[in-house]
């Protein structure tokens, strides 16, 4: 098992390495740069000076190697858009807000999603089930910024119960979390329902029924245990998505989280910031992916990992 995990992380490192080259090359593939004349009309010698300071006058491969060397030592450089701090400190400042919203979102989405999914499966083909299916599709299909704006219109503009946005009181978190959690919640609910219905058709459940076990016991002990395992696989990749921040949600509710930096860093061609964000997303995604695969085998002994010898 350990060898397997090591191999997966090795492959992840390789992916990250290639990805960082691709993104680095991509950023430099377009003429101009973070300090081009159109953005900052400075005299040529000042421009030269700035470019020299950030090493932008060197050949690209050299820039990449020095970035890589520094990044391996935990130094992601200085963000061009906010030169008084480091990339690391900027992320450390903005990320906690995103994490707070993200963790609340994931937790609530799972709790409610599971609940609705289980109810829909138990009451299959009743009005409860169709209502759940309808709202699940609604939650998945409606863009979260549309839901966000609707919430603002209702609860902030019309009823004036909640502030339209900002950070960081509890009241200011309510609407972003609701707008953000509907899609994952709907996904979880749908997944739970399908998965439960599949298990409920198996022979051992029929067997349990035949033996006269009470329905709630069948559901709790036989159906749920098996049915909820696949949910681990969608939890893994969902976490980095949420933790890196929905750009739209943070923009709708004026949350000073990480999401806005994805936009501004891209627009400003803030090379160090973009690289750091890309690496961060990739590490998160990769780690959770591996972990969810491992968790899967631990929970479900029937699953064998590809390439894992026993």
């Amino acid at each position: 098992m350990l060898a397997y995990i090591a191999r997966r992380f090795g492959s992840l490192l390789l992916t990250m390495f290639v990805l960082s080259i691709v993104i680095f090359a991509l950023m430099h593939s377009v003429p101009g740069g973070p300090f081009s004349f159109s953005k900052q009309p400075l005299p040529p010698f000042a421009m030269e000076n700035i470019n020299h300071k950030y090493g932008l006058d060197k050949p690209i491969w050299q820039q990449y190697l020095s970035w890589l060397w520094a990044a391996l030592h935990g130094d992601f450089g200085i963000p061009f858009e906010s030169p008084t701090e480091t990339v690391t400190s900027l992320i450390a400042r903005a990320w906690p807000i995103t994490i707070r919203v993200g963790l609340l979102t994931i937790t609530l989405a799972y709790v409610f999603g599971l609940f609705f999914g289980i109810v829909a499966a138990i009451r299959q083909n009743t009005w409860l089930d169709s209502a759940m299916t309808f709202f699940a599709t609604l939650g998945i299909a409606l863009p979260n910024f549309v839901i966000g704006f609707l919430l603002i219109e209702i609860f902030a503009v019309q009823l004036q119960w909640l502030p339209t946005g900002g950070c960081c009181s509890t009241k200011q978190f309510i609407m972003p979390v609701i707008a953000y959690m509907l899609a994952p919640m709907a996904g979880v609910a749908r997944y739970t329902r399908t998965s439960m219905l599949e298990v409920m058709r198996t022979e051992y459940v029929t067997m349990g029924r035949a033996r006269g076990l009470p329905e709630w016991r069948i559901v709790r002990r036989y159906v749920l245990r098996t049915a909820l395992i696949p949910l681990i696989t969608i939890l893994g990749p969902a976490i980095p998505d949420v933790l890196t921040g929905s750009i739209f949600i943070e923009s709708t509710f004026a949350l000073p989280g990480l999401g806005s930096y994805f936009t501004s860093a891209s627009l400003q061609r803030d090379y160090p910031m973009i690289m750091a964000l890309v690496v961060m997303v990739c590490v998160l995604w990769g780690t959770l992916y591996v972990l969810s695969d491992v968790a899967y085998t631990l929970v479900d002994p029937r699953v064998r990992l590809e390439g894992l010898q026993r």
Partner: protein, 296 residues
């Protein structure tokens, strides 16, 4: 005599009725939400196609003397912040959304299909490289990559469509690869090979045809995704640029006037919502209808 003739005429029809596509249509028809979704999706599509006929005025004509006016006989749904007719902009906005909505999955399919087909058919090294490519592409969220590309190469309808398209190939490659792997060893492929059918013919006529179901589903479910993506980028001010109307941009622009004139933002929201929702229902309906293992 006439009875025999009649039954003879009926027989082939009954045979045609049980073709997989007809079965799919029968299953689809039973799904009420998918039917309603189909009607709305069709409506949005016809609005987009007929925009110049349906729109009461030009989408770019602005009258600064009449900004944020409510509904009136001249402007049935009122005007926006620079005095443009809201109804016309909504109607032309359908055109933008549908252009993106259909082109993005098409671009994705054009890239992803050949890659997935090659990986599934040739296997070995080709498959290995494809799998690494897929891994690389999933390591960074498409929305972020698109954002970066837009920031570097510029915004606008063309770029947004292109970038959303080229970042959406993974789904097609994955499903096509899986289909090719499962179909390539089937008897009908072996038979075709035995009679000397060229490989490209087997790939595109025999296998792709049988893999059409899942690919169509991915395509249709890609439409709301693309509409969402365009609206999202435009919402951030990085998508379609003025004066071309985009629902996403109308939401951001109108969002500042929620208190003064809520319709300006609420109507485009309604349109985005209805469009993504209806295409999702169509996609879900198709999934249940085309999937032979569909659960009743």
């Amino acid at each position: 005599m006439s009875i025999i003739a009649a039954s003879a005429a009926v027989a082939p029809r009954r045979h045609a009725r049980s073709s997989p596509w007809r079965d799919a249509w029968r299953r689809y028809r039973r799904n009420r939400m998918a039917l309603i979704g189909g009607v709305i999706a069709g409506l949005v599509l016809s609005i987009a196609l007929l925009a110049p006929i349906l729109a009461p005025g030009g989408y770019e004509y602005s009258n600064l003397a009449e900004t944020l006016k409510g509904p009136s006989p001249q402007h049935l749904l009122g005007t926006d912040a620079v005095g443009r007719d809201l109804l016309s902009r909504l109607i032309y906005g359908a055109r933008t959304s549908m252009t993106v909505g259909f082109l993005v999955p098409l671009i994705g399919a054009l890239i992803g299909l050949p890659i997935g087909a090659a990986a599934g058919w040739f296997g070995k090294a080709v498959d290995f490289i494809t799998l690494r490519l897929i891994e690389l592409a999933t390591a960074i969220p498409a929305i972020l990559l698109g954002l970066l590309l837009i920031a570097l190469y510029g915004s606008g309808l063309f770029h947004v469509t292109l970038f959303l398209g080229i970042t959406s190939w993974v789904g097609y490659a994955r499903i096509t690869r899986a289909q090719f792997i499962s179909l390539r060893e089937r008897e009908f492929v072996t038979a075709a090979r035995a009679i000397g059918t060229p490989a490209w013919r087997i790939m595109f006529l025999h296998i792709l045809r049988n893999a059409a179901g899942p690919i169509i589903i991915i395509f249709v479910l890609g439409i709301p995704g693309a509409v969402f993506g365009e609206a999202g980028y435009s919402f951030l001010g990085l998508g379609v640029q003025d004066p071309i109307p985009s629902w996403g941009k109308m939401i951001t622009d109108g969002g500042q006037y929620l208190q003064l004139a809520p319709l300006v933002a609420l109507l485009p929201m309604l349109f985005v919502g209805l469009t993504t929702l209806s295409f999702s229902f169509v996609g879900d309906g198709l999934r249940d209808a085309l999937d032979p293992n569909a659960q009743e």
